[in-house]
Amino acid sequence: MVGIVNYGAGNLYSVRMAIKNCGYESCLITGRGDAGEPDVLVLPGVGAFGDGMQNLRAGGLDVKIRKFIECGKPFLGICLGLQLLFPRSEESACGGLGILEGSVIRLPDTGDIDIPHMGWNEVDWIDEPGLFCGGIPRDACFYFAHSYHAAPEDRNVVAATTLYGRSFPSVLHYRNVTAVQFHPEKSGRHGLRFLHNFLEGAC
């Protein structure tokens, strides 16, 4: 069973449907009385860092997420769900989960790129083949929609980077935690394949 953290931060439906399309059952994890312990936890999300974190705290979900990750089971953060893993973000004065060390910073306002970074871009994997990339071509594009990105202290957690204005970490991997800045649930067949590969290894 795949648990999806429900904290009012958008596109849960698409994430649920994508997981279903991959052949896995999912349930929504809210602050109150959950149906059993999931095998995998997915923290999706679009929107603002501060609002997202406040919603997590209000539901006691921050504690649940920490406990889940501590017990070593597979965790996937998507987009805002990646950024919330850090202790702080330039987007908000509100503190994050602090599971990974470092911070979340704004894409460079250099004038020659549009912000948000919105659209399809390539993912350059540090190791080949890339994480959960079986069956996905090397130059496959994934869908991004964000204005901020992770800046982890430990560069060893960076599994892939993407070039937009500058090279930023687009996939992070540390122990049982995987986090992607792109939206696998919106990245067409390659996104579904990535999600499928992750879930196959996790469930």
Partner: protein, 251 residues
């Protein structure tokens, strides 16, 4: 960054109107069939424009989005008749990734900021319908292009960006439906004015038109309707042509 090819589907009372035409056979206006067709063809995103005139028709839109989002896994933008935060929330919860606001943004600019704060800028597409009024001047029209507002389109684009819009869907009223080519000048003026992505719309007729607006017009995406629906060319042909001219597109 890849340039995006975005089919636009008009939806009325839950049915796609002006849907895909296979040679002489008009596919029944099933939104899921149309969306799946274009997704398989390689569409980078889809835009649904709700042209329902009734409240009932609008309600149906959420169901349409839900059905499409169950089987099509690319970004979905929904526009048409959305006028408040509650309406935005309904559509997003149904599985849309972005909402397009046009008339409501002009009447109530605060809505752009409210939506951006609550759902994030990446969800908020402001649609601007622009009509040429003189050399290098375009006026914003609302209510499906019927009502002039006296606002300058380029200035308005800058304003919605500072209010928190994450993207601009720019339609040339003069070119819409003509297949005579995009209004490259207004697209370039808006692209240069703002630092957010601009989707060019209205007037696509040939592959060269797409190339022109993506290069001279500095658009980051093109919206296409009739040329795709009437199978003048396919998304595959578009991408092959653009890639051959060194425009980055997805595979």
């Amino acid at each position: 960054m890849k340039r995006r090819i975005i089919p636009c589907l008009d939806v009325k009372d839950g049915k796609v109107v002006k849907g895909v035409h296979f040679e002489n056979l008009e596919v029944a206006g099933d939104p899921v069939e149309n969306a799946s067709f274009y997704s398989k063809e390689g569409a980078d995103e889809l835009v649904f424009l709700d042209i329902s005139a009734t409240i009932e028709g609008r309600r149906t839109m959420a169901n349409v989005v839900r059905e499409v989002a169950s089987v099509v896994f690319i970004p979905l933008t929904v526009g048409g008749g959305i006028s408040d935060v509650k309406g935005i929330e309904e559509i997003l919860q149904a599985g849309a990734d972005k909402i397009g606001i046009n008339t409501a943004a002009v009447r109530n600019p605060e809505l752009v900021g409210e939506a951006a704060k609550k759902f994030g800028s990446q969800c908020v597409v402001v649609a601007i319908d622009a009509k040429k009024t003189g050399d290098g001047r375009w006026e914003v029209y609302i209510e499906s292009g019927k009502t002039p507002t006296g606002r300058d389109a380029v200035e308005w684009a800058g304003e919605v960006e500072s209010l928190g819009a994450g993207e601009i869907l720019l339609t040339s009223i003069d070119r819409d439906g003509t297949q005579e080519g995009y209004d490259v000048d207004v697209t370039r003026a808006v692209s240069e004015k703002t630092g957010i992505p601009v989707i060019a719309s209205g007037g696509a007729g040939t592959l060269d038109h797409l190339y022109d607006v993506l290069t001279d017009g500095k658009a980051s995406a093109v919206l296409l309707a009739s040329v795709l629906h009437f199978r003048k060319f396919s998304i595959g042909e578009i991408k092959k042509y653009l890639a051959g001219k060194n425009i980055p597109v997805t595979d």
